[in-house]
Amino acid sequence: MSSAVPFWRAAGMTYIGYSNMVASAVRKCLKEPYRSEALGREKVHFTISKWSDGKPEKPTLRTDSAEE
């Protein structure tokens, strides 16, 4: 008998993914101005550079903000 896993892990989600999803849902239920401050915390902005054969490929830029 396998150990009891939470439903989200059984569906393939990791704890951090689950936790971030819950936090995002909570942030969307706040009153203004707290809501905009909180959603600002979810923004990410980074570039990913993949390397192959010792040479960098073109970097991809990711800018995400919380979807409305």
Binding site: W8, A10, V22, A23, A25, C29, L30, K31, Y34, A38
Partner: protein, 211 residues
């Protein structure tokens, strides 16, 4: 099960060497995190060698020396619980002495009093209330962990925690109906899980607002 036996044997042997701190390298194979020494330890061999070479310069401090020693477990149950409640972007409560804290653990609402047995609890979305005298401060916690130590210190970490007066009831209702609808129309396991999460969080928010 028995592959850990050798590790336990080494640890048992190291039990005698532990009081000497880090001087016996072989003995301290893997110390428990609860074995953090009560006083900051110094690597005496290093400091001696440093003083020989550079007697006028202060030896650099190792990370272990910067660590504040763990408060000792008192023999009598203390009268107050010291709470540290931190979020990734700020520390909500830092070393506040309170009477009781009720945390939303996955196993149900757990009341933590001074002298509580050492516990690690995973938190579910719910209400966290801090009771100090007659005043009660309530926060809605998204998820996280609570570490209760034997010396009546409680460290609570959460990703998002808001005082309940900052929650908008109409948005909660709307979210709940949206996710309930998504749950009934979900096809893949992942969609079902996401919708279930949404329903859980919003019902917890509802309960927190009305409770």
């Amino acid at each position: 099960m028995f592959r850990h036996a050798s590790r336990f044997l080494i640890r048992a042997a190291a039990g005698d060497g532990r009081s000497h701190g880090r001087t016996s390298a072989i003995a301290v194979a893997r110390a428990f995190s609860s074995d953090v020494p009560a006083a900051p330890s110094q690597d005496t061999a290093f400091i001696e060698a440093w003083k020989k070479v550079a007697p006028n310069i202060e030896p650099p401090k190792t990370p272990l020396e910067f660590m504040k020693p763990r408060p000792p477990t008192p023999s009598a149950i203390p009268s107050k619980l010291t709470v540290n409640f931190v979020l990734p972007y700020q520390s909500e409560i830092s070393s506040k002495e309170v009477d009781m804290v009720i945390i939303p653990a996955t196993t149900g609402q757990m009341g933590v009093l001074p002298g509580h047995v050492a516990t690690i609890a995973e938190l579910k979305p719910g209400l966290l209330s801090v009771h100090e005298g007659t005043e009660v401060t309530k926060y809605f916690v998204s998820s996280g962990f609570a570490f209760i130590h034997a010396n009546s210190f409680a460290d609570i970490v959460a990703i998002e925690a808001v005082p309940i007066d900052r929650i908008d009831p109409s948005l909660v209702q709307k979210g709940l109906t949206d996710f309930t609808q998504k749950l009934s129309s979900a096809t893949t396991d992942l969609e079902k899980a996401e919708a279930q999460i949404g329903v859980d969080v919003h019902s917890a928010l509802n309960a927190a607002l009305s409770g």
